[in-house]
Amino acid sequence: MTGGEYRKPLPQPNENSRPFWEGTRAHELRLQRCRQCGKHIFYPRAVCPFCLSERLEWVTAGGEGKIYSYTVVRRAMHPAFQDDVPYVLAIVELDEGPRLTTNIVAAALDEVRVDMRVRAAYDDVTPEITLLKFAPVPGPEVN
């Protein structure tokens, strides 16, 4: 972020999602896991979408995954994103299983690929909110 007030839409954490956003603020990826069926869950919910159990616990995830699909947004819909185009919007599949919508940062546009390994990159957009974005895992060339 460069100077000035953050004008983009912000998440409004609620009783179910607050631990997730507290996690990102601490630069840690926290997911719900169902104590009954053992599956990891994203987005945060009051009940498990796999078995309807209410016995959900928060666990710390590895923070890595791969790009399931991506696009380069070249025209902003929300005016606050106008200065950012072109930027990468992606669905990342975490190693724990769940998928989430995010941005790929710290990568050249033509470098981004489906199946690319990525790692959580925390963007402190306001004092209260840190968005969970992802960057390529550095190291040996991956396809």
Binding site: V73, R75, L89
Partner: protein, 388 residues
């Protein structure tokens, strides 16, 4: 109980799409197309005892059916809003038939309409509540409405199956050829080539501008009636032969497989009820908000195997003169997308073709049509088989 031949469409009314409202309101448009549909079906307001509405996207207000019923002097005994996005119109057809089969009504007016343009449509609308998962977990990352969702599907389809930009572009080109035979289409008389599509600006990779639907103003209505009412109709009845519906997600990130849509469930149900298969149909009239939508629909409805959509559209002529006529009105890509009336255009075009009223683009001996409505990001699907 089956819905096969439980009801028929006997009248349609449609407004020629316009780039901007020019003073028209959604209510006024819905009233106008309702009037046309009732006249077409030989009905007066007193004959209508059911009213279904696919609500205007830019004017979400409570109780649309009561508002429109009062405006038109229609006093229905069955009212509902069918909030399925682009699947609303196809969804209304079988909902109307189900209510008729249950004996709750005999004549159901189904209405869509939108007074909008590109600027209005893409201007963020204030929402009372931000407490939806989409607002919390997607909007902060800057999606371009649903455009980016379909781009994600296209990108993944290319990765899994080797689908090419040229194959997707072919869909837009064939549909434009169809629009050039439809004076009501927004892009009438403006033919394009595959190179034109690929030379148009990339908006959300890998989708180009000419692969993306244009929001506009317009409306469409149709009347679904009981077999008894259908026998007295001035136009040939178009029968509901099969229907299926299915949904798996709202946000694309929550779909376990974004290259296979819920059409893989809804379409086989519709075909099974009708007792026919994809190879039997004379007309394909399917939702086309983007080129990739058509490709995935053809695969999931069983016109070709999964992953073969690219070669399939290259091997077949999708124009009204071709071996697999698809979206003969031009599709929404070339006809225009007036809100949920865009989805309704696939129903009205199928009715026109089956009735033999499609003018220069009429298919000879058109007896069986497959119609698909799609809402969200391949989220909600309503599939129909219609026939004479």
């Amino acid at each position: 109980m089956t819905l096969k031949r439980a009801a028929a469409i006997t009248g349609i009314g449609e407004m020629k799409p316009a780039r901007s409202p020019d003073g028209k309101t959604a209510l006024g448009i819905m009233a106008e197309v309702s009037r046309l549909a009732m006249l077409d079906a030989g009905l007066e307001p007193k004959d209508v005892d059911g009213l279904l509405i696919g609500p205007p996207i830019t004017e979400m207000v409570p109780m649309w059916p009561s508002v429109l019923g009062e405006y038109l002097g229609v006093h229905p005994s069955y009212l509902n809003v069918v909030d399925l996005g682009g699947a609303a119109a196809a969804g209304m057809v079988w909902r109307a038939a189900a209510a008729i089969a249950a004996g709750q009504c005999r004549t159901v007016l189904c209405v869509t309409g939108e007074a909008s343009d590109i600027e209005t449509f893409y201007t963020p609308r204030p929402r009372r509540s931000a407490q939806l998962p989409y607002r919390e977990f997607e909007v902060p990352y800057g999606p371009m409405g649903v455009n980016s969702g379909y781009a994600l599907i296209a990108q993944r389809h290319m990765f899994e199956h080797g689908t090419t930009p040229r194959q997707l572009a072919k869909i837009a080109v064939d549909q434009r050829t169809n629009a050039c035979a439809n004076p009501d289409a927004l892009f009438f008389d403006r033919p394009i080539t595959i190179d034109d599509v690929l030379a148009s600006p990339l908006v959300v990779d890998p989708l180009h501008l000419l692969e993306i639907v244009m929001p506009c103003t317009g409306g469409a209505a149709f009347v679904v009636v009981s077999p008894e009412v259908a026998r007295r109709a001035p136009q040939p009845a178009v029968w509901l032969l099969g229907a299926g519906e299915h949904a798996t997600h709202m946000m694309l990130s929550q779909s376990r497989n974004i290259t296979t849509s819920p059409i893989a469930v809804s379409a086989p149900r519709a075909f099974k009820m009708a007792g026919v298969s994809p190879g039997d149909v004379d007309l394909v009239s399917v939702y086309d908000c983007y080129t990739i939508t058509v490709l995935v629909t053809l695969e999931d409805a069983g016109f070709c195997p999964k992953g073969r959509g690219g070669p399939f559209v290259e091997e077949h002529d999708l124009t009204y003169r071709g071996d697999l006529p698809l979206n003969t009105h031009g599709g929404q890509l070339s006809f225009g997308q007036p809100g949920l009336a865009g989805g309704a255009s696939h129903v009205t075009e199928a009715v026109r073709q089956l009735q033999g009223r499609a003018g220069d683009r009429q298919r000879p001996n058109c007896e069986l049509a497959f119609v698909n409505g799609n809402g969200g990001t391949m989220s909600e699907q309503a599939s129909l088989v219609l026939g004479r």
